[in-house]
């Protein structure tokens, strides 16, 4: 079972109280961008077995979006943090590295 702690209201709840929002930290490519960038923004998603960064919404709770760093293989959640973050914060990276020393890192 996947349990997440919402950083907006502090509640720890199981997965069905949340709505998944796909990969986190995407950079938007809109009008004026190259076809390759636009296509990659629309369709290309990471699908790792292991460390992954995701968007979640506390849909049945406070209603807010947040981000989560977790292991897609073990369902271990390393951290949840606020949505207004364009890349994983240093403390989140440090937590992951402490638990997954051979993780190749973000990007």
């Amino acid at each position: 079972m996947l349990s997440l702690t919402c950083p907006c209201c502090g509640i720890t709840a199981e997965e069905t109280e949340f709505a998944p929002g796909g990969e986190a930290h995407l950079k938007r490519f809109g009008p004026g961008s190259s076809d390759e960038d636009f296509e990659s923004y629309l369709f290309a998603r990471k699908n790792p077995k292991g460390v992954h960064f995701e968007r979640w919404r506390h849909a049945y709770g406070c209603g807010k979006w947040f981000l989560a760093a977790r292991d897609t293989n073990t369902l271990e959640v390393f951290a949840t943090y606020k949505a207004q973050t364009s890349e994983p914060p240093a403390d989140v990276i440090a937590k992951i590295k402490a638990k997954r020393p051979d993780w190749e890192g973000y990007k």
Partner: protein, 183 residues
């Protein structure tokens, strides 16, 4: 004025506890910066506090609950809600705030009896057993959103959207049937 009626007009079921639709309730949604001085002042004039995260405070027959980092729910007698909404709107007119009377968009239920929390435990993924008094928990009951809190000894109050009130009383009635206690 039109004759306001609640969603289920007090429908009640007796099981190992009593579940009932609570009848007409006033509910006002307040959305704004919860840390603003204007909000604290506006609520103070109504003798109400600004509740901390996930708290619900009851003062003189009204309750005020923390719903999200920018939202409060004020529960009051149904007849009071329109005037209270107007007073709060006027008091917060200088703020980036939204005060809406949502009384007729909601339904409220009470679950009363020694094992009241077991009725909700069966319906919600929330850890009801550890829910402290004075805390409101937004979660779901089966397939619909609900918020609930311990409103008294052996009593839980639950709020849902009015459009699903029939579904919620059905859930509560089945969950409270005699012989289906968890422990």
């Amino acid at each position: 004025m039109s004759d306001a009626v609640s969603a289920l007009q007090g429908e009640t079921h007796e099981g190992f506890v009593t579940v009932a639709e609570a009848g007409l309730m006033g509910m006002i949604t307040i959305r704004c910066d919860l840390g603003s001085k204007g909000l604290a002042k506006a609520l103070k004039a109504e003798r109400l506090p600004v509740p901390g995260p996930r708290r619900i405070e009851t003062v003189e027959g009204r309750s005020i609950a923390w719903m999200s980092p920018d939202e409060l729910l004020l529960i009051c007698p149904h007849a009071e809600a329109p005037a209270l909404t107007e007073r709060l709107s006027a008091a917060l007119s200088g703020e980036h705030a939204l005060i809406v009377n949502v009384s007729d968009a909601r339904a409220m239920f009470t679950i009363r009896g020694a094992k009241a929390d077991q009725v909700v435990m069966k319906l919600s993924p929330a850890d009801v057993a550890t829910l402290p008094a004075g805390e409101i928990r937004r979660s779901r009951t089966a397939q619909v959103a609900a918020a609930f809190w311990r409103s008294g000894e052996d009593e839980i109050s639950l709020v849902s959207f009015r459009s699903v009130a029939g579904y919620v009383i059905g859930l509560l009635e089945v969950s409270a049937r005699k012989g289906s206690e968890l422990f």
